[in-house]
């Protein structure tokens, strides 16, 4: 039995050291922000002025340009969290903790927006805000998982310790999400007549695909920018906590 804390030096350790990380990623923030903003302007212009209405859905197809990117992000962000969780558990890297924590509220919001836009889309097309359809339902469950993770982060007061524990839960969730998706599909197809409208992607004409793609990239960049910023903040927050405790301790001795 022996425990050693000597840090292992490598290029990766150097650039991924939290302080270093903030230093070399900070210059990226502004370009990213600018790019995101430009893409949003272009995307919105396409969405409202340069794309036709769908022959079937009419103008409501324009909801797609915000719905689909958010729906995609809801899954992508969980992927980021799961990879970060692996980083926390396997390499015990502080940066992975930070990334995991910063991503959770973002993912929750994108998921909530996917649900919101989906519900608003459902009303004109299906005549109801909510339908217990497989995809919608599994997105709802995903939102619950996100909110659970956010609640967990808030409940721990020692964030270092929290990271490893939450990583375990995130990974368990990652294993379970495909199962949930599958079971929900099985469930709603079993109980429900196949009345659900299905929009198959490939059928889309280019005039719809272009704005979709632009918005898609714009939202993804938005996430990356916010994630980076939130990670910086989180790194600073940890430093604040350490300093505060030091102050309390320094005062006591």
């Amino acid at each position: 039995m022996s425990i050693d804390t000597a840090p292992k030096q490598s290029w990766w350790n150097r650039i991924a050291h939290p302080g270093q990380f903030v230093a070399w990623t900070r210059p990226l923030l502004w370009p990213l922000t600018a790019l995101t903003a430009v893409l949003f302007v272009v995307g919105l212009w396409f969405a409202f002025f340069a794309s036709p209405e769908d022959y079937q859905m009419g103008d409501t197809v324009r909801i797609m340009y915000v719905h689909v990117p958010n729906a995609w992000l809801s899954q992508f962000v969980y992927g980021i969290m799961a990879v970060s969780a692996l980083g926390t558990l396997v390499w015990r890297h502080p940066l992975a903790d930070v990334s995991m924590k910063a991503a959770a509220p973002l993912g929750a919001l994108f998921t909530a927006l996917a649900l919101f836009t989906g519900a608003l889309w459902g009303r004109p097309t299906w005549g109801t805000f909510w339908e217990w359809d497989g995809r919608m339902t599994s997105t709802l469950v995903l939102l619950f998982i996100y909110l659970g993770i956010v609640a967990l982060w808030r409940a721990f007061d020692d964030q270092l310790r929290a990271a490893r524990i939450i990583a375990v839960f995130t990974l368990v969730g990652a294993i379970n999400i495909p199962i949930i998706k599958f079971s929900v599909d099985w469930w709603s197809t079993l109980h429900q007549p196949a009345s659900v409208f299905r929009a198959d992607g490939p059928r889309m004409p280019g005039s719809i695909l272009t704005p979709l793609m632009v918005m898609f990239v714009a939202f993804t960049l938005l996430f990356l920018t916010l994630h980076l910023k939130a990670m910086h903040t989180e790194i600073k927050r940890r430093r604040v906590v350490t300093l505060q405790r030091k102050a309390a301790q320094g005062a006591s001795s």
Binding site: L147, G148, L152, A155, I165, F169, G173, S183, W186
Partner: protein, 217 residues
Amino acid sequence: MNAFAAMLGRELRLALRGGGDVLTLVLFFVIVGAIVPFAVGPDKALLERIAPGIVWIAAFLAMLLGLDRLFRPDYEDGTLTLLRHADLPLSAAIAAKVIAHWLVSAVPLILASPVLTVLLAMEGDAFWRTVLSLLLGTPALAAFGAIGAAVTVSIRRGGLIAPILIAPLSIPVLIFGVGAITATQSSAALLFLAALSLMAAALAPFAAALAISSAED
């Protein structure tokens, strides 16, 4: 193996001496089932239709209820700290705890399920399918529950978070469990349930041990 048996024995003893905790869970299960007719009104056809769902929800909630007792008392009196230095690996000790948890919280429910089937006007055939589906599905609930309890044990006021972590994870169990009672493809659902339970039971001790050993004292 001896240590495993000791752990199992201790858990069972504590539960059975625990001033009727087991009885309480069963009563809770029955009461949730019995309250539903009050809430939805005494319409027989309706009741029979939603009966499988209610049995499973009652079982799920009853198992949630006992969950806070799985690790918290041991965490608070220092037992979990000591278990890290026991000869028995922590994951094995947790496996014993999960098995005991299933024995004292799920098995009594299964035994009590006839009461619910009567209250909810289910017919004989559905009753047997209910028992079978509970038998195959509750291990998964216990396993997911253990993961949730382990993740939240070191939060000082964390007892409330466990249920919301567990509920989304348990949805497949509910869906297949209910499916196994009602559907015509009952056997497919049963198979899935069994697979889920196996997978969850295999995963849970390790995940829970990982979570617990990353909790500082």
